[in-house]
C-alpha cells in the first residue's frame, strides 16, 4: 500500500517536473510569462492605495491585511495551477472524450489527469503571493501559517474545480460554470469580507468557498484561533473527499470519444 502511494507520488512529481521543463524550452517566453504575471498582480496595489487614501480602513482591514489577502489568493491560486492545472480544463477532457489516454495507464486516473499540465504564469502568481507575505511581515509563525494556508487554499481551489468539472459527466456547458465559479473565489477573495453582509456573506463562506480559502485563513494569521484553523483544515479535507467521490461516480458514466490522442 505504502509502496503504491510512494510510486504514485513519484510519478506525480515527475509529471510536474516535465511539465515545467517543457514550458522552459523557450526561456524568454517562460520568464516573460512569470515576470509579467508578478507585475500584473502588483498593479492592483494601485487600486488599494487609492481606496486607503479615501479611508483609513476598508471593511475592517488595514492595508497590510489586504495585502495578506491578496498574497494568499495569489499563492493558493498559483500553487493549484502549478500542480493541478488540468483540473481547470476537466470539462473539455470529459465532453470531448479525451480521458481515454489516462484510463489505460496503470496509475491512479484522477491524479494522472490533474497533474498532466502546468500553467507557467501561475509560477508568477505563487512567487508574488510568497513575496507579499514576506514583505507584510506576519512574523515567523505567521509566515508558516501563511504557507500552510496556501496549501489548504490550493486544495480548496482544486477540489472546488474538480467538483464542478466532474458535473460534466452529467451536464453540458459545465466548463463555463466551473471557470466562473473558480474565478468568483478570486474576485470576491481579493476584497475584505467586512463589506459583504447578510445572505451574500453566508453564500461566500459556504457555497462559493471564499471564506474557507481566504478570509478565515487571513483572520487566523492576524490573530490565531485554533477553532478557525481546524475548521479550514476540516473543510478542505471534506471538500476534497466529496469532489473525489463525485469524480469517480461520474467516471462510471464516461463514454469514450473514439478519439486518437498522442500524449507527448
Amino acid at each position: 500500500m505504502l509502496t503504491a502511494v510512494k510510486n504514485q507520488m513519484r510519478v506525480c512529481l515527475l509529471s510536474i517536473k516535465y511539465n515545467v521543463m517543457r514550458e522552459m524550452v523557450n526561456k524568454v517566453t517562460f520568464l516573460t510569462n512569470v515576470g509579467f504575471m508578478v507585475l500584473n498582480n502588483a498593479s492592483f496595489l494601485v487600486q488599494w492605495m487609492i481606496l486607503f487614501r479615501l479611508r483609513g480602513e476598508v471593511g475592517g482591514y488595514t492595508f497590510r491585511e489586504i495585502m495578506l489577502l491578496w498574497g494568499l489568493v495569489a499563492a493558493s491560486f498559483g500553487l493549484s495551477h502549478i500542480l493541478f492545472a488540468r483540473v481547470f480544463s476537466l470539462p473539455d477532457l470529459i465532453i470531448n472524450g479525451k480521458l481515454d489516454a489516462y484510463l489505460v495507464q496503470p496509475k491512479n486516473v484522477l491524479v494522472g489527469v490533474i497533474t498532466s499540465s502546468t500553467d507557467v504564469s501561475a509560477i508568477g502568481d505563487f512567487l508574488y503571493g510568497i513575496a507579499i507575505a514576506a514583505i507584510c511581515g506576519p512574523g515567523v509563525g505567521g509566515f508558516i501559517l501563511f504557507l500552510l494556508f496556501t496549501v489548504t487554499g490550493a486544495v480548496v481551489f482544486t477540489a472546488f474545480a474538480l467538483l464542478l468539472g466532474s458535473l460534466s459527466f452529467w451536464f453540458v456547458r459545465m466548463d463555463m460554470l466551473q471557470n466562473q465559479m473558480v474565478m468568483g473565489i478570486v474576485s470576491f477573495g481579493t476584497y475584505p469580507d467586512g463589506i459583504f453582509k447578510g445572505v451574500s456573506r453566508f453564500l461566500l463562506y459556504f457555497i462559493i468557498p471564499v471564506g474557507m480559502a481566504v478570509w478565515y485563513p487571513v483572520h487566523v494569521i492576524v490573530r490565531f484561533d485554533a477553532e478557525m484553523f481546524f475548521t479550514v483544515a476540516g473543510y478542505a479535507a471534506l471538500l476534497s473527499a466529496m469532489s473525489v467521490a463525485v469524480f469517480y461516480r461520474g467516471l462510471r458514466r464516461y463514454a469514450s470519444g473514439n478519439l486518437m490522442v498522442a500524449r507527448m
Binding site: 523557450n26 524568454v28 517566453t29 516573460t32 510569462n33 515576470g35 509579467f36 504575471m37 507585475l39 500584473n40 498593479s43 492592483f44 494601485v46 487600486q47 487609492i50 481606496l51 479615501l54 479611508r55 476598508v58 471593511g59 504564469s121 456547458r173 463555463m176 460554470l177 466562473q180 465559479m181 474565478m183 468568483g184 474576485s187 470576491f188 476584497y191 467586512g194 463589506i195 459583504f196 453582509k197 451574500s200
Partner: protein
C-alpha cells in the same frame, strides 16, 4: 465557432465578388458581409452569452458593496461623484469591458500567427486586420446590447435610476461607446501582432488590460492625484472607458464633442499603427508547411 465563420465568410465573399474576382461596388462591402455572417452566427448562440452574466454580476455586486461601505454619509461626494454616480460609472465601464469581449480579438490574432493560419488568411481578398475587426464587430453587436440591458436592470434595481440621465443624448453616448471599444480592439490587435516577433504576446496584453481595468474601469480619472490626471487623459483609458462612461453618468454636449474628437484622433493613430505593424510583421513570416 471561428472555423464555421471563416468557411462561410469565404463562401459569401465569393458571392460578393463579380467576374474576375473583383469586389463589386464599395470595397467595404466584403467586410459588411463578414460582419453580417458573424452577427447571424452569434445570434444563434446568444444563450451562451447569458452564462457570462455571472462574472459581470460578481464584479458589480462586489463594487456596489465596496462603494456602499466607502460612502458613509448620504450625499457625500468622492472626487466629485455621488455614490449613485460612482456605482453607475463602474457599471458602465464594466458593461463596456464585459460586453466588448475584446480578449477574443487578441486571442484570435495570436492564435492565427502562432499556429500559422495567418499564411492562409493573408492571401484572401481582404485585409487581415480589417477582417478580424469586422468579425469582432459582429460579435459585440450581439453581446454588448445584452450586457447593456443587464447593467440597466441591475443598476435600476440595486442603486436606483441615474439622476438627470438625458434620454435624448443616448445616440451620442452610443457612438462614443462604439468608437471606444473599436479603439480598444485596434490597440489589442497591435499588441497581438507582436506575435510575429515574439512567441507569446499575452503577457503584454495582461499589462495593457490591467492599466485599463484599474485606472479606467474601477475608478474615474478624477480620483487619482491631480498631477497624474492629464497623463491618464493621453492614454487609451480616456477614449475607451472614462470618456463614454463619464458621458453616461454626467452628460454635457461640450464633453461629448471633446471625447468624440479625441476618439477620432486615437482611432486614426491606432489604425495607422496597426497597418504598420502588420505590414512589417508579415515580412517576418516563415511558413513551415504542414
Amino acid at each position: 465557432m471561428y472555423g464555421w465563420g471563416k468557411r462561410n465568410a469565404a463562401g459569401a465573399l465569393s458571392l460578393a465578388r463579380g467576374r474576375g474576382g473583383r469586389v463589386k461596388g464599395m470595397p467595404w462591402r466584403k467586410y459588411a458581409v463578414i460582419y453580417r455572417l458573424v452577427l447571424l452566427e452569434n445570434l444563434q448562440y446568444a444563450a451562451n452569452i447569458v452564462v457570462g452574466f455571472f462574472s459581470y454580476a460578481v464584479f458589480i455586486y462586489t463594487f456596489i458593496m465596496l462603494w456602499e461601505y466607502m460612502y458613509r454619509t448620504p450625499g457625500e461626494l468622492i472626487a466629485g461623484y455621488t455614490k449613485e454616480q460612482m456605482i453607475w460609472y463602474v457599471m458602465m465601464t464594466e458593461m463596456i469591458w464585459f460586453g466588448s469581449g475584446a480578449a477574443s480579438v487578441a486571442r484570435e490574432v495570436s492564435t492565427d500567427i502562432r499556429g500559422g493560419n495567418i499564411a492562409y488568411l493573408m492571401n484572401k481578398p481582404y485585409h487581415y486586420t480589417l477582417y478580424v475587426l469586422a468579425k469582432y464587430t459582429g460579435e459585440w453587436s450581439v453581446r454588448l446590447p445584452m450586457y447593456a440591458m443587464l447593467a440597466a436592470g441591475i443598476g435600476t434595481l440595486m442603486v436606483g435610476p441615474l439622476p438627470g440621465f438625458p434620454l435624448t443624448a443616448v445616440p451620442g453616448m452610443a457612438v462614443c461607446v462604439v468608437l471606444g471599444l473599436t479603439i480598444n480592439a485596434v490597440f489589442k490587435m497591435c499588441i497581438s501582432l507582436f506575435s510575429f516577433w515574439i512567441e507569446d504576446a499575452a503577457p503584454f496584453q495582461w499589462l495593457y488590460d490591467k492599466l485599463l481595468l484599474i485606472v479606467g474601469t474601477m475608478f474615474p480619472v478624477e480620483i487619482f492625484p491631480k498631477a497624474l490626471q492629464p497623463l491618464f487623459k493621453l492614454t487609451p483609458i480616456y477614449t475607451v472607458f472614462y470618456g463614454p462612461a463619464k458621458l453616461i453618468v454626467d452628460f454635457s454636449p461640450e464633453k461629448c464633442v471633446e471625447i468624440l474628437a479625441a476618439q477620432a484622433v486615437y482611432l486614426a493613430a491606432g489604425c495607422g499603427l496597426m497597418f504598420l505593424i502588420y505590414g512589417k510583421g508579415v515580412k517576418k513570416l516563415y511558413v513551415n508547411g504542414g
